[in-house]
């Protein structure tokens, strides 16, 4: 058993192989073969991950770094291609491969209408994504993480633009990539800063408790650390869709629904959380950054939630919800609840994947329709979907004892002990969450069907390949929270915290624990749960009898419907001026300025040529006069100018 860790390379390698096979032989392979290969490799990875997990879980396991080769050795920089196996990465492995497998499975059915090569292309992209994501979490240094980081961005791009004939989808894909790149820009700078100051980017060198470089820093808020952490956080903002770079995520819903589930809900967008959790020590040492993270997280949470209230596209609602939930995770990170954040990543992966897949199932049934105003009453036709979706909604709304409750509560509790205002806003956000989720549920599954007759005729429950993942995820959404039962309910109930404790041990040592009293904690829980339940019920009752209205929404509702006009603002403030600048560069500076100067020299010479040749006017008298003048000048220079 001990050497199973050395098989770690197989975990990313298998998806890569899947990618290569599916990608290169996409014209030769039939759909079933592609499905088997595509899902099989992920399953295999999952199995290996599981085995590794069991080993890591054993007591006394210390983080291991497994180096493969010199990746980059230029001058001072020596960076290995190495994997890090510890509790955090293993947990993420499980989430990625586990949820990933389910979604692959789901996709085999969901994407069945694609042509065989397209199908293979889709699976190869998915495999590549899993590979990149695994690289991201497995990397033993920030460079490898960055590889995965950009890799998932790429896959996200490819998958959002999977239907490449559609220009809107392409634009969405492009937007996603570019926004991610803005984040990556910060990440990259952070890495450079690290390299420059610490000379290394390897986690082991930086964080190991014995002689890690960061570990030995004792001052808080050193300029370097604050800078690095802020830059890295910029990366996280981009990847995890936080204010101000969140706008790509709702647009990213252009991709196939399983992709939204996998990438834009369960895994990729949580990379930012992973990264900060991974560098928790640095963040802990820079409280300024922590506050920034918390504030941005919280504001994103509430901001996205408000937008979600008025969205009518089923996937858009979920997308904003994702943004909002990610905000919670950052809030957790910002207030030092690293475990809580990771916990929420996990539970969120379950229920948000569930919700997305459920939405996919709905869309599938509706023949591609995504507008919830044209749905309604689907619960009758899609029983499984309805039930699982319902479970998902409860979980995300934070109603006990479903998984969302535990994880969100942990974050909120930590927020409370950090700053009461955080807590209040957080609870408000969670109310909003409950509200819009149940609005979604109500409008989709309850009431009367509002679509066309033809659509109604075709309504049917999805095949098993779709249903099974839903059921599994629903199950996980219910019980997933049980790995993190708060201390007050059960001693040693927070197994996750125990499991992850080696990773966060150093931070925990530094963070002053504001242990709140047990009563207090129960009170808080009660408040949030009750509020969530109230919000849910209100929304459900209100929207289960939704009737489409033609009149345009006005005032604040309109602002919300238009997503606070953020896209428009970006367009006017950044995109357009930038484009004008580029046009200015191109037309004025390049054409008229530099090129004009160069051509001007040419023209000047031509002009000079035309003028100077007039001296040569054919008259001998003039010529001789010119000579005489020349003599005069030369003579004066020679004889007098001394």
């Amino acid at each position: 058993m001990t050497n199973i860790i050395h098989l770690i390379y197989l975990v990313p390698l298998l998806p890569l192989i899947g990618f290569l096979i599916n990608g290169l032989a996409r014209k030769l392979l039939s759909r079933p073969v592609v499905s088997v290969i595509g899902s099989g490799v992920i399953l295999a990875s999952f199995v290996i991950s599981l085995l590794i997990f069991f080993q890591v879980r054993q007591d006394g396991f210390t983080a291991q770094t497994i180096s493969y080769f010199d990746f980059l050795s230029a001058g001072k920089i020596k960076i290995n291609f190495a994997f890090q196996v510890d509790q955090l990465s293993t947990l993420f492995l499980l989430i990625i491969t586990g949820v990933g497998f389910l979604i692959h499975l789901y996709s085999t059915s969901y994407m069945h209408e694609e042509t065989a090569p397209g199908f293979a292309r889709y699976f190869s992209y998915l495999n590549l994504f899993v590979f990149s994501m695994l690289l991201l979490v497995l990397g033993a240094n920030y460079l490898i993480m960055f590889i995965g980081w950009e890799g998932v961005g790429l896959c996200s791009y490819l998958l959002i633009g999977y239907w490449f004939k559609n220009t809107i989808y392409n634009n969405a894909a492009k937007k996603a990539f570019i926004m991610n790149r803005i984040g990556d820009f910060g990440f990259l700078l952070g890495i450079f800063w690290m390299i420059n100051t610490f000379g290394t980017v390897s986690y082991h060198d930086l964080f190991n408790p014995q002689n890690g470089i960061i570990s030995s820093i004792s001052t808080l808020n050193s300029k370097t650390l604050v800078g690095i952490t802020l830059l890295l956080f910029l990366g996280a903002i981009g990847k995890s869709a936080q204010i101000p770079l969140y706008t790509w995520l709702p647009d990213a819903m252009a991709g196939p629904t399983p992709v939204s589930a996998l990438i834009h809900a369960a895994t990729m967008v949580t990379a930012g959380i992973y990264m900060i959790a991974r560098s928790n020590l640095m963040y802990t040492l820079s409280p300024i950054t922590m506050s920034v993270v918390a504030i941005i997280g919280l504001s994103t949470a509430i901001f996205a939630a408000t937008i979600a209230l008025k969205q009518n596209d089923i996937k858009k609602v979920l997308a904003y919800s994702t943004v909002s939930q990610l905000g919670y995770m950052f809030l957790g990170l910002g207030v030092g609840a690293y475990t809580g954040a990771v916990f929420h990543v996990m539970t969120h992966a379950f229920f948000k994947a569930l919700l997305f897949l459920g939405a996919g199932s709905v869309i599938h049934a509706m023949g591609g329709e995504q507008d919830i105003r044209k749905m309604g009453g689907l619960g009758k036709h899609l029983r499984t979907t309805y039930i699982t979706f319902f479970i998902g909604c409860i979980a995300i709304a934070g109603i006990p004892p479903f998984s969302g409750f535990f994880s969100k509560d942990e974050i909120l509790t930590a927020a409370y002990s950090n700053n009461t205002l955080f807590y209040i806003i957080g609870v408000l956000g969670s109310m909003l969450t409950a509200f819009y989720m149940f609005r979604l549920l109500g409008m989709t599954f309850n009431g009367k069907f509002r679509g066309t007759a033809e659509q109604e005729h075709h309504l049917h429950e999805s095949p098993p390949a779709i249903a099974i993942p839903l059921i599994v995820l629903a199950f996980l959404s219910i019980v997933g929270g049980l790995v993190g039962i708060p201390e007050i309910f059960m001693h040693d109930g927070h197994r996750l915290a125990a499991f992850l404790s080696p990773v966060f041990a150093q931070s925990a040592g530094i963070l002053a624990k504001h242990e709140s009293s047990a009563q207090n904690e129960i009170l808080l829980m009660t408040i949030s749960s009750v509020l969530a339940v109230i919000a849910s019920l209100w929304a459900w009752t209100k929207f289960r009898k939704y009737k489409p209205t033609v009149d345009e929404s006005t005032g604040f509702a309109k602002v919300l419907e238009n997503k606070w006009y953020v896209d428009e603002i970006y367009d006017t403030v950044i995109v357009r001026p930038f484009r004008s600048l580029s046009v200015f560069f191109n037309n004025v500076i390049e054409r008229s300025g530099i090129d004009g100067l160069v051509n001007g020299v040419g023209k000047g010479i031509n002009y000079g040529s035309r003028q100077i040749r007039l001296l040569q006017n054919g008259q001998v008298g003039n010529y001789i006069l010119m000579m005489v003048v020349g003599i005069l000048i030369l003579f004066i220079i020679q004889m007098f100018a001394k």
């Binding site: 230029a74 004939k165 790149r181 800063w193 390299i195 580029s582 191109n586």
Partner: protein, 494 residues
């Protein structure tokens, strides 16, 4: 054994020359094409052998051959290969088969002259990379230009004559300035047995120059190389020339010739004029970084595929030139590998663009679209190459750019902050290009496009293979150039 009678630098230099001259005599278009391909493949084999062949000492004296040339002047025809030289000769040798294969379908009038000139330009380029004597270097520096000039002007697009002529004048002026600089340094160089001064590279390295002299000499040299690279604001010849040149010439220009500038700065400016370098490094870096952003911005609003790639190349080269002047091992190593990478990537880009243009006769973004449906293989290759051009991790350019950025960061972090904005901008225009060309729906023109043949697939596959191999395991290249870099840095006491 081989090294005793005839050496690699000689082989690499004379082989293309001889085959190039012979190519002129082959009248049959098909045969001459095959001949050129054969010749370039042979050169590639020679170059690969030279890469494997080592005798322990890699820097400067390795494989050095020297013939008496102008003994009174202290110039000898001396050529040799060090790590950097071997890398760049390899790039040259590798590029030509790729170029020829990638454009094999093209039919050019007077094929014998066309391919003959191609091979001659290869000879010229090789000469630049192997020269170990300033005069020899200058010789080849100009000679490499002439065949390319003819190629561009004879077989290029509609406005080829003014465009390439601008290019010619630009480079000619600048290289003449460099000649003045070379002469000046020569006249300060220490005496040798046969002459008062010497053009040999070692003599140049030993020449002691006053800081003030170094300052203006630096300007003379740098302008020459900046034009070739090109660095903002000496770049305006480039987009026009790339746009108007025939595809193979464009590839030679951007794939290899641009590297001449970078190479020359590393080989002839840094070690010879250390103090001049230190004096101007800031200015150069600022120019380069400004150029990066500027070119990237312009690339965004271009409509012509070739111009986009041209401006993108300016941006990439800007980073290289900035990194050179960061003057540390990391950055220089990055530059080294990036020379190779950029060469490979941009040739790939041109090949794809040429394949599109050849089939459809257009290369305007606004007229293209939906090619991915009709030509998936072409699209995949193109996307991969574009991604490599964007320096996505695990592709070759990432390694180079990462090292360069990291090195530049050591020099001054603010430059990197600005320079890496281009990381975002490159994504903007690259993806825009991919989208406009390959995605979306087809129109009446692009409907006719067909996917590429096996030959072109192989060509592009080789490029992609290099992209990934160098992107995942760049160590051999780093090792190859390590000694060169450290030898240069010792001049700066680093």
């Amino acid at each position: 054994m081989l090294g005793k009678y005839i050496t690699f630098p000689e082989l690499l230099l004379w082989f293309p020359l001889v085959t190039g001259v012979l190519a002129f005599t082959i009248k049959d278009a098909k045969k001459v094409k095959a001949w050129a391909l054969f010749s370039s493949l042979m050169t590639l084999i020679i170059s690969i052998i030279s890469l494997c062949y080592t005798d322990g000492s890699k820097y400067l004296y390795y494989n050095n051959v020297s013939y008496k040339w102008m003994p009174y002047l202290g110039s000898s025809f001396s050529i040799g290969l060090d790590g950097m030289g071997r890398m760049l000769t390899f790039l040259t040798a590798l590029s030509f088969p790729l170029i020829l294969l990638g454009t094999y379908k093209r039919e050019y009038k007077n094929a014998n002259a066309f391919y003959g000139l191609m091979l001659l330009s290869q000879c010229g380029l090789m000469g630049v990379f192997v020269a170990m004597d300033a005069l020899v270097f200058y010789f080849f520096w100009e000679l490499a230009l002439i065949p390319v000039y003819f190629l561009c002007s004879r077989w290029g697009g509609e406005k080829r004559i003014p465009a390439t002529f601008k290019f010619f004048i630009y480079t000619f002026v600048s290289s003449l300035l460099m000649l003045v600089g070379i002469i000046y340094i020569y006249l300060q160089s220490p005496p040798t047995i046969t002459s008062d001064h010497s053009f040999a590279i070692q003599a140049f390295y030993k020449t002691a120059l006053l800081p003030k002299e170094q300052g203006w000499l630096f300007c003379l040299f740098f302008v020459a190389f900046a034009v070739k690279m090109p660095v903002f604001p000496f770049h305006t010849w480039q987009p026009d020339t790339y746009e108007q040149s025939p595809a193979p010439a464009t590839m030679v220009l951007s794939g290899i010739m641009v590297k001449m500038g970078v190479f020359a700065v590393i080989r002839w400016v840094l070690p010879v004029l250390p103090e001049g370098t230190l004096k101007f490094e800031n200015i150069v870096i600022v120019l380069s970084v400004a150029g990066m952003l500027y070119a990237s911005c312009i690339a965004i609003v271009q409509d012509d595929l070739k111009r986009i790639v041209a401006y993108s190349s300016i941006a990439h080269i800007g980073l290289m030139s900035a990194a050179i002047f960061a003057l540390n091992a990391t950055a220089l190593q990055g530059v080294m590998i990036q020379m190779l990478n950029h060469g490979i990537n941009i040739i790939g880009l041109w090949i794809v663009i040429d394949l599109i243009e050849k089939q459809l006769g257009i290369r305007k973004l606004s007229q293209l679209g939906g090619i991915a449906q009709k030509a998936p293989a072409l699209s995949i290759f193109f996307v991969i190459i574009v991604l490599a051009n964007m320096a996505l991790p695990l592709t070759n350019a990432f390694i180079g750019e990462f090292a360069m950025f990291a090195g530049l960061y050591q020099y001054n972090s603010w430059y990197v902050v600005f320079a890496s904005i281009s990381v975002i901008l490159v994504a903007v225009y690259s993806l825009n290009m991919v989208q406009k060309v390959f995605y979306g729906s087809t129109n009446s023109i692009t409907e006719l496009v067909q996917d590429i043949s096996i030959r072109e697939k192989v060509t592009l596959a080789v490029i992609v293979l290099f992209i990934f191999i160098l992107g995942i395991y760049p160590k051999p290249v780093f090792q190859l150039t390590e000694d060169t870099v450290s030898a240069i840095l010792t001049k700066f006491g680093k």
